[in-house]
């Protein structure tokens, strides 16, 4: 199979996948995208095996690396700005606070993952492949990365899932929800219920 033909098939598979995912989201079936993705991956893998020419070479990989660097930078800067903007509105609507927290965790996670992969690859390049020392170094870094991620996600999940610690305005009175760090608001609690 020629590269041109492969690209045409790949485009068709991606379009079918997008169609399948949008259909499943609108119908509320979330198992279908998973099946569609696995199927697409298998089809593409099979097609790739049949291509005669080179699909990607070192020039493509170099460009892909550069593109990934730019993407990480743009996404991180954009989300960091979004965090500050959302935090400005956090007082008026608590949903903004949650979104801000999600964006900040996402930025931290993506930057941490990028650094971890970078140092892992560097370490892999430095150490010998079959020595026990390198094995410890290689797998040690995996455990450290897994530990950091587990801690971040545990903290983030607890913060988001357990519900916010705040003062709730209920029937004209401030009611403690959880263990809020801030003192009871001094403002008048209106009859409408909202979280402060």
């Amino acid at each position: 199979m020629t590269l041109k033909k492969y690209n045409k098939y790949r485009m068709a598979v991606v379009m079918l996948l997008a169609f399948g995912v949008s259909l499943s989201v609108s119908s509320g079936n979330y198992l279908m995208p998973l099946v569609a993705m696995i199927l697409s991956w298998l089809i593409l893998y099979n097609l790739r095996q049949q291509v005669d020419g080179v699909i990607a070479d070192e020039c493509d990989y170099a460009l892909a690396g550069k593109a990934a660097r730019y993407t990480i930078t743009i996404v991180s800067v954009f989300l960091a700005l979004a965090f500050f903007v959302l935090m400005q509105f956090a007082d008026s609507n608590h949903e903004f606070y949650n979104f801000a927290m999600i964006t900040s965790y996402f930025v931290c996670g993506i930057m941490l993952l990028n650094s971890a992969i970078f140092y892992y690859l560097k370490l892999k390049m430095k150490t010998e492949k079959h020595s026990f020392k390198s094995w410890i170094k290689t797998f040690g870094i995996y455990f450290i990365i897994a530990g950091i991620f587990a801690a971040i996600f545990a903290a983030g999940s607890l913060r988001l899932i357990s519900g916010e610690d705040s003062w709730l305005c209920t029937n004209g009175q401030w009611v403690k929800h959880g263990q809020p760090a801030a003192p009871q608001p001094t403002e008048i609690c209106p009859l409408e219920n909202y979280a402060k």
Partner: protein, 62 residues
Amino acid sequence: MQNNIKELRQKLGITQEELAKQAGIRRETIVFLEQGKYNPSLKLAHDVASALQTTIEKLFIF
């Protein structure tokens, strides 16, 4: 980096497609190399030089 890829390729009478196939890369990469827009790795420089029956020193102008 400047190079003599285009001249040597034309001297041998082979197309960019054929050179790419011999060097195990895409034709587009040959275009970038000929235009001096991409600096290849040592391995790729060696592969291209071998495909053009020359050496790296003669192919690339340092």
